[in-house]
Symmetry: C2
Subunit: 344 residues, 2 copies
């Protein structure tokens, strides 16, 4: 089941996932996200020679993927700066020649790369940039909107904010609660088929984009909003604060990875604690929603065995006196987190 979202994009499907030439799994979160949350729409993966990261899906050339029904190659890499590497060009050109469209969530626009533009025109294929924000985003007005909102808030990038939001959306829907997943990044948009790439919006309009993303709704309707960056990230804190203020969340869930003690990709920056991030998010979030509360904590325990993870979740639940769960492990802890989100 894929959580629903406004259908402001109609992407060609199914996808062939492209991993570029990466050797660090942290940069494959787009591909992993599609595998985990939209697997029925992924026929396989493709990559340059030398790539060491895999989604576990079958490796298919563009010609093989087309034969299996694929309609688009999705760039499944989220590197720093969001650029399309020169080394990927032969692979991308071969996809267009094989009859696939290309979908990208990178900062660099496909249409700005002359050889791709020419090859797409020659082969009658489309170049689709999901990171391109909609036109006419307004300046934020700070007006309190109706309906309920939840925002996932992280201590770093790539720490579980999107997965947590997707898992909570599934759980809310499973309980019969009217809920929308609101995507703010390229992978979320690919999964949901809609959303606004908040970090690609001009800075003055970022909070306005967040307001637009979760419009007025019925009093018992929930918008579950994918967080971005971190309020203490030296490069992305501005995006995170604009998203927090524009989202006006009633509930935040703090997302963290126990054991990660450094900001990813920014030498010299330690990670904030869960406690510090919770206090900061509530303090700043109160500005646009005075009744904001923290429902609990989502811990990414992928690197722990089941027993260690369970012990840690229990310890943190006790220490913080809040619901603490790993949504990817589910179980009673996650049910308690869902309950804590719903029940004020």
């Amino acid at each position: 089941m894929t959580p629903s979202a406004p259908a402001n994009l109609a992407l060609p499907q199914p996808y062939l996932l492209f991993l570029g030439d990466i050797t660090d799994a942290e940069y494959a979160k787009t591909a992993f996200g599609l595998r985990d949350w939209a697997r029925e729409r992924c026929v396989g993966e493709y990559a340059c020679a030398g790539t060491t990261v895999t989604t576990g899906l079958p490796f298919l050339t563009p010609v093989e993927a087309t034969a299996k029904g694929a309609r688009a190659l999705v760039i499944g890499v989220a590197n720093e700066g969001g650029f399309i590497a020169d080394a990927w060009m032969p692979a991308l050109l071969s996809a267009l020649e094989a009859g696939l469209d290309i979908i990208s969530g990178m900062h660099t626009r496909l249409a700005d790369i002359a050889p791709l533009e020419a090859a797409a025109a020659h082969n009658g294929r489309r170049l689709i940039d999901v990171r391109r924000p909609p036109q006419n985003i307004p300046i934020a007005n700070g007006r309190k909107r109706s309906g309920k909102r939840l925002l996932t808030v992280g201590t770093d990038c790539a720490i579980g904010k999107k997965y947590t939001a997707l898992a909570l959306t599934r759980a809310f829907l499973a309980r019969g609660i009217a809920t929308h997943f609101r995507a703010t990044g390229q992978t979320g948009i690919l999964i949901a088929g809609g959303g606004i790439p908040i970090d690609a919006v001009v800075a003055d309009f970022a909070a306005g984009a967040a307001e637009t993303l979760s419009p007025d709704a019925a009093d018992d309707h929930w918008d579950i909003i994918e967080g971005q960056g971190s309020l203490l990230h030296p490069a992305y804190s501005g995006v995170s604060l604009a998203l927090l203020h524009g989202s006006q969340p009633d509930v935040v869930v703090i997302c963290h990875e126990p054991g990660r003690d450094r900001i990813l990709g920014v030498p010299g920056y330690s990670l904030s604690t869960v406690d510090e991030m919770m206090e900061l998010a509530l303090r700043l979030g109160r500005r646009t929603n005075p009744s904001i509360r923290c429902a609990g904590v989502s811990l990414n325990t992928a690197h722990l065995d089941a027993d260690s993870a369970e012990r840690l979740l229990a310890q943190e639940t006790e220490r913080l006196r809040l619901a603490v769960a790993d949504p990817m492990r589910g179980g009673a802890a996650f049910e308690r987190l869902v309950e804590a989100c719903i029940t004020a």
Copy 2:
């Protein structure tokens, strides 16, 4: 004397200041800024019929201004959303016909307005958008840069951050200290002849833009950086936080207007206190510069008589145990603020 800045723009001068059709002086801060800080480059002002705001400079038609040597009409309005109103078009077209270029700091790009583009081409004039950020801004890397930095931090927009930075720059230069004024908004860029329009940068790159704006410098060199927005502004907080983190200020000066108790243009939002903003700026700023300190407070007392202003500055100096001054009034209080900025 105009504070120096990197000459990455070479604007046609002198200017004719254009006030559009506004009736609220708060929206004329661009025109007022040029009058106050680059008066020798302004021949007069021009406006649509019905405009009630004036800079006090002589009213000149574009033809009259051209005869007095003007080379460009500068749009001196900073409205919400940064759009060019349809009502201004006859005035703008008459400027091009009179032989003036048009310089704009609005979000809307002059070149995107077809009749202006056509008239500029027909008359051989230029349309110059100073709000267009430079290409290839990097993602912030958080690396501590050499040299000293001061950032003005405000409790609201249009509260004195730019004026404070300009006044401090003049005072530093008058003391023989190597200093650059770093402009982050359209007016500052027009005054300085360089800078980066931080709020026009794509959100992901805003902190990177702030890093680029004040590069490594000699240990005793000061960059005095024009603040933007407010960390508690529901629309612009993200811009302010990106600027704070990217600027890595050693010193902040809090800018406030006593008596203003509401955020300008955003109904329902009270202004934070000086104390609250100081504490928040130091707490968040510590992330990229652990030795950040607040040197004092700049109060905009334009609405008070001289005695009331002096009393208030003395009271606040006593209450906060910090240097508190109104840079526009200068005097001993401002000298103490300058000293407090320089002396750790």
